[in-house]
Symmetry: C2
Subunit: 261 residues, 2 copies
C-alpha cells in the first residue's frame, strides 16, 4: 500500500466519522430546514478537512471538489473529492452515504477510496493492485447474458434535458427494462460502482449523461480493479469530463453498448 | 408494547442475526452456486425458527411465508413472514437485507417488525401506537408537490406481464419520471416502506402490480403508523392479496392516483 493510499483511507474515515457524528445531532432536530443546515455544514466541514490535508501534503496537486472552488495548479495529479455523497439519505437519517476520495493522473484514475461510515465499510483500490472491501479482495461478476444481469442506473437532472434528450432517455430505459433481468436506481453513484466491484451489479450507466466526476472518481478505479470495463457510448475510454459512462463486468460490455445505441 | 410485539421483535432479531452469521461463511466461498446454497439454507433455517416459535406460542393462528407451505387454521389472525428479504444483496455480501414479521387481523395489519441486522436497525409498529426506528419515533414527510417528491418503485416479473400490461407499465414509468423529482428502485420493498416512514420517500408503488404480501406485511403498518396513506389504484383499502398498492405520505396521494390512471 502506497503512502498516498494510506493517507486517503485515513482521510476518508476521518471525514465519514465527522459526518456520522453530525447525523445524530441532525436526527434530534425536527425542522427540515434545520436538518438541511446541519447536513450542509457537516458536508462543508468534512470537505474543508480533506482539502486542507491534501493541500498540506501535496501542495502542487489539483483538487476538484463538489462544494467549494476547484484548485487548478496545472499538475498532472488531480484529487477528486466528494465528502458527502448521499445528502438526501443523510437528511432522512438513513446511513446510505459515503465519503469518496480519488487521485487521478492526467486522464486516468490511479487510486480511489470510498468509505461508508454507517456500516464501517471501506472500499479501496490502486492501479494494478486490485481492490478490497475492508480485508476482502473483490471481483466483478462473470455473467455473460443480459437477461440474467442487473444494471444500476443514475437518472438525474431530467428537467435539464432537452425534449429530444428526454425521448432518447426513455427509449433507452425501456430497452434496459426489457432486456436486463432487473434494473436498480439506488441513488448513489459511488455505491453503485462498489456493488459492481462486488459482483452484485453487472453494469452501471448514467442515463441522463450528466454524471459528476467527483462522485465517480474513486468508484471508477474500484470497479476497474475488480475487472470492470469502462468506456463511453462509443467504446472509448472516457475522460474526466466524459458523459454517458458505461461500466460493466466486461463480459456483457459489447451487448450493453449495442443495446444503448 | 404488547407481548405480541415484544415477541416479534425478539424473533426478528434472532432471525436476522442467524442470517448475518451465515453471511460471513458465505463470503469465504468462491463459487456462486455454493453462495446460493448457503443463502437458501440460512433463509430456510431462519424461517423455520420463526414458524416454530409462532406455532408454539399462537397455535391457532395462520402463517403465510415466503419459502415453506402456508398454514391455514381458519383464524382471524395471520402472520406474514419473510425471513430474508434481499437474497440477491446477501449473495453479494451487501448487508442490505431484512427479516420482516407482521401480524394481520382479518384484512388489516395490526403489528409489524422489520430488522436489518447489517446496520442493527429495527423498525416496529402497532396499530394506533406509532412507529419507531430503534428508540426514535418516525413520521412521514409533509411534501405536497410531486415535483419535489421522491418515489420508490418495485419493478419485478416484467417477463410475466402481457404485452398490454408492459405497455401500461412503461407509460406509467414515463409519467413518474417526468413528474416526480426523482424515482428510485432500491430492490427492497420492506426498506422502501421503512424509508417512506422516515420521510425519505414520499411515495411507493409496485409498477408490475405483483407485489408479494409477505414482503410488505410489516412495511405497510410501519408506513401507516408514520402517517402514510395506503390504497389500491382505485383509492380503496387493498386487501392482503391486492395488486398495485399505492403508498404515499398522504399529502400527495390524490395526485399520485391521478397520475397513474
Amino acid at each position: 500500500m502506497t503512502k498516498e493510499l494510506k493517507f486517503a483511507i485515513g482521510l476518508a474515515k476521518k471525514s465519514g466519522k465527522l459526518i456520522l457524528a453530525a447525523l445524530n445531532e441532525e436526527q434530534s432536530a425536527s425542522a427540515k430546514t434545520v436538518k438541511r443546515d446541519i447536513c450542509t455544514s457537516a458536508d462543508l466541514a468534512a470537505e474543508k478537512l480533506i482539502v486542507e490535508e491534501i493541500k498540506s501534503k501535496f501542495p502542487t496537486h489539483n483538487i476538484i471538489r463538489e462544494e467549494g472552488k476547484n484548485i487548478q495548479n496545472g499538475s498532472d495529479y488531480t484529487w477528486l473529492i466528494d465528502a458527502l455523497d448521499g445528502t438526501k439519505y443523510f437528511i432522512s437519517g438513513i446511513k446510505f452515504f459515503t465519503t469518496s476520495i480519488a487521485l487521478w493522473h492526467k486522464n486516468k484514475p490511479i487510486m480511489g477510496v470510498i468509505y461508508q461510515p454507517g456500516t464501517d465499510e471501506c472500499w479501496f483500490a490502486e492501479k494494478g493492485k486490485g481492490v478490497f472491501l475492508n480485508d476482502r479482495k473483490l471481483k466483478v461478476a462473470q455473467e455473460i447474458q443480459l437477461k440474467n444481469s442487473i444494471i444500476s442506473l443514475d437518472i438525474n437532472h431530467l428537467s435539464l434535458l432537452t425534449k429530444n434528450e428526454q425521448k432518447i432517455l426513455f427509449e433507452r430505459l425501456k430497452k434496459i427494462a426489457s432486456n436486463f433481468y432487473r434494473f436498480r436506481v439506488i441513488g448513489s453513484g459511488s455505491l453503485s460502482l462498489c456493488y459492481l466491484a462486488m459482483g452484485h451489479f453487472d453494469a452501471y450507466f448514467d442515463l441522463s449523461g450528466r454524471q459528476e466526476m467527483w462522485d465517480l472518481g474513486a468508484g471508477l478505479i474500484i470497479a476497474q480493479e475488480a475487472g470492470a470495463k469502462i468506456t463511453d457510448l462509443n467504446g472509448s475510454w472516457p475522460g474526466i469530463d466524459s458523459e454517458h459512462l458505461v461500466v460493466t463486468n466486461g463480459k456483457i460490455h459489447d451487448k450493453v453498448l449495442k443495446l444503448l445505441q
